[in-house]
């Protein structure tokens, strides 16, 4: 096939959007939106990397715009990209694994568009107005109207609120799908399903001789548990958003509310409690669940130590509710007991829960030797390596002695945050995308395995390299969220930028590979209404 024909009609013309069910279209729409926003994040990241080397290199980005990009970058990454891909995959996988239709496809589509539009609104508001309180929104910075536009900030917060409403729709759809009784089915045991989904059955099985049957599979249990954190997080972010909006609306009406009405430390505690439900909660739980699912799908074997895996997921959920204080170790007014118990001790539990997930996944893969080193397995191993690198880095900085000299340095965002997200999380998501690609596209063929291989190596080396060089700068005192005008850490920033460019190349290779695999007509077709009128996940074979 000629290049133009493949670009237009997909590899060997195998992808036919008209053959997709509404559920396949929903999942693919989420993935396309997530990948486009990931592209935005990579470009923004590259601009920031260039700015850190030399302001003149960053295509005219001003310091105000630099911080606006820094504000939008993680939010677009988490909500626009990761949430989209994860929600799309899980809205497909939960009914797939439970062998029943999604509770509401309509709600799923609302979920998609609210996240897509909400992300665009807050990104655009930040781009135009340079609203830049960063994702941490430390009080009273988001309501500091001597630095930021009230109107820009209002649109920014409204965008975030739209994303949170979309997130609430996801939570409802997941729990309803687990518990509802489809037409023609016998009555489903709601209570027992919830207990199994939350991991309580797995936990009691550890200590009981009479083992109860698991009503939901382990990946569904992981999704259900992570979804609890997703719900709490949405509530806290909405709460903070409403609070900030009150100050903004008052300001628009000419009334300046007192910042001191809100206790900055209490606000910081509540906000980090909610925010950590993502970083130390749903991300770890969803990732562990995805590892288990991929390991069993790739090997066709039962998961190693399944009851332990279920119990660890439950413990991880409790850990995620009690771990927030490691973000306040440098806040001297924070009680010391919270710093030790929540900050140091509970955080150390993450080494154990994530370590268990790591071991269980590797042991499951090991049991099925020899395996073919295909893209899903490669990326899964990359994802495992990412968390094996990033979690210990996080445990180190959650020590009272080390935090005193690491907090807010490039160490935090390099070896911990970026390695966890880019290598651990993103490579796990790529593994799932490569695995689900033929299922979601009714057997479309990947355009090039060589490009997939290049994608893997460039992403792995770029992500680890960038994290490492940022970390080296951090250990020498370079702060994050700051600008160095005299090239103080240039050698590390140049090396980090070179590594970052590998990430950009990896994404371009992947994007090109996917576009060639489904064709431009196929991409458009994904967003057209489905011709098949069915609630089934896959088309019925004739």
């Amino acid at each position: 096939m000629s290049f133009i024909k493949t670009l237009t009609n997909s590899e060997q013309g195998l992808f036919k959007p008209d053959s997709l069910t509404p559920m396949q279209k929903l999942a693919l729409r989420f993935v396309v939106v997530g990948l486009i926003y990931y592209g935005v994040v990579v470009i923004e990241g590259m601009l920031m990397r260039l700015f850190e080397v030399n302001q003149g290199l960053a295509l005219g980005v001003s310091p105000e715009q630099f911080f606006a990009i820094m504000t939008a970058h993680p939010l677009v990454g988490i909500f626009g990209s990761t949430y989209s891909i994860v929600f799309g995959a899980f809205l497909f996988l939960v009914p797939f694994l439970m062998k029943k239709p999604l509770w509401s496809i309509k709600l799923g589509n609302w979920n998609l568009w609210l996240i897509t539009i909400g992300t665009f609104v807050f990104w655009f508001a930040g781009f135009v107005s340079h609203y830049s309180p960063l994702y941490t929104l430390y009080w009273p910075l988001p309501a500091d109207f001597s630095q930021f536009s009230v109107l820009g900030g209002t649109f920014f917060i409204v965008g975030i609120a739209l994303v949170m409403v979309g997130t609430a729709f996801f939570v409802i759809n997941i729990y309803k799908t687990i518990t509802y009784t489809p037409e023609g089915w016998g009555k489903q045991p709601k209570g027992a399903l919830i207990k199994s989904a939350l991991g309580l059955t797995g936990l009691t099985n550890l200590f009981s001789k009479k083992k109860k049957e698991h009503l939901v599979s382990l990946p569904v249990a992981a999704i259900a548990r992570g979804t609890v954190d997703t719900a709490f997080n949405a509530v806290v972010i909405l709460f903070a958003g409403v609070l900030i909006l009150i100050y903004m609306v008052a300001e628009l009406f000419g009334v300046s509310l007192k910042h001191s009405a809100i206790d900055a430390l209490l606000y910081k505690n509540i906000f980090w409690w909610g925010l950590d439900l993502i970083a130390d909660g749903l991300v770890l739980i969803f990732v562990a669940g995805t590892w288990y699912l991929l390991a069993t799908l790739i090997t066709g074997k039962k998961l190693f130590m399944e009851n332990w895996a279920r119990a660890a997921l439950f413990v991880e959920m409790i850990v995620s509710w009690t771990v927030w204080s490691h973000h306040l170790m440098s806040d001297q007014a924070q009680p010391g007991i919270l710093k030790i118990l929540s900050g140091e001790m509970v955080t150390a539990f993450e080494l154990i829960t994530q370590g268990l997930a790591f071991f269980i996944t590797l042991a499951t893969l090991w049991s099925a030797r020899p395996l073919k080193m295909n893209p899903p397995l490669k990326f899964l191993l990359g994802g495992l390596l990412g968390f094996a690198l990033a979690v210990p880095a996080g445990i180190m900085q959650a020590d009272l002695g080390l935090n005193r000299i690491l907090h807010n340095t490039q160490w935090i965002v390099g070896p911990h945050v970026h390695v966890a997200i880019l290598i651990g999380l993103t490579m796990t998501l790529y593994s799932a995308i490569y695995f689900l690609f033929p299922i979601l596209t009714n057997g479309a063929k990947l355009y090039s395995n060589k490009l997939a291989s290049f994608h893997f190596w460039a992403h792995l080396l770029g992500g680890i390299g960038m994290g490492a060089f940022m970390g080296m700068a951090g250990l020498r005192g370079m702060l994050r969220r700051s600008i160095y005008l005299n090239g103080e850490f240039n050698i590390y920033m140049i090396l980090a930028a070179i590594s970052g460019s590998f990430l950009l190349l990896a994404f371009l290779a992947f994007f090109y590979n996917i576009v060639m695999s489904v064709g431009l007509k196929g991409v458009l077709g994904i967003f057209m209404p489905a011709k098949l009128k069915t609630t089934e996940l896959l088309p019925t074979e004739k």
Partner: protein, 182 residues
Amino acid sequence: MTDSNIVLTGQTIAYTFYVLAIMALMGWFSYKVTRNGSGKVVKPALFYSFVGFLVVIGVSLHIVTHETIPWKSMDLNRAEIKADKEFHITMQNHKYLLPVPKLTITKNEKVRFIVESKDLTYGFGLFRNDNSMVFQMQVIPGHVNDILWQFDRSAVYSIRSTEYSGPKGVNMIMRDAIEVVE
């Protein structure tokens, strides 16, 4: 006395060693998993040993740092420790207001810095001339933000805000604001 440079050198060595080891393990696993296996599954004893190992590592890290990093226990007990000198510093409108233009400290003195913010959340960090960090803390408005530090060598330090407080805050640096003398 142990300072941040020594602690971070130790951390760099330990973490680098770990990174190389885990990469080698994953490389070995990736190779072996594509080869024919013996059909044996991983023994649960290995799993339980691994769990025990993680527990030991997670707990011992904090015990080791408590015993080896001098500022850790001092920070936790700072309310009971009498300082040789106290400096009250105010932060407002992205500026530091020092009690005197240069804070002079005699070597081996225990010094308490009490920093108050009148508006935003800031940071308070001390940096050497090579930009490496001595220590830092957050400065939260409406709360007492204090840190106790013992200076065991003569040096000159700069103060820099270690927390983002909006684009206006990027230049919050006071060069050579602290001098430790014999």
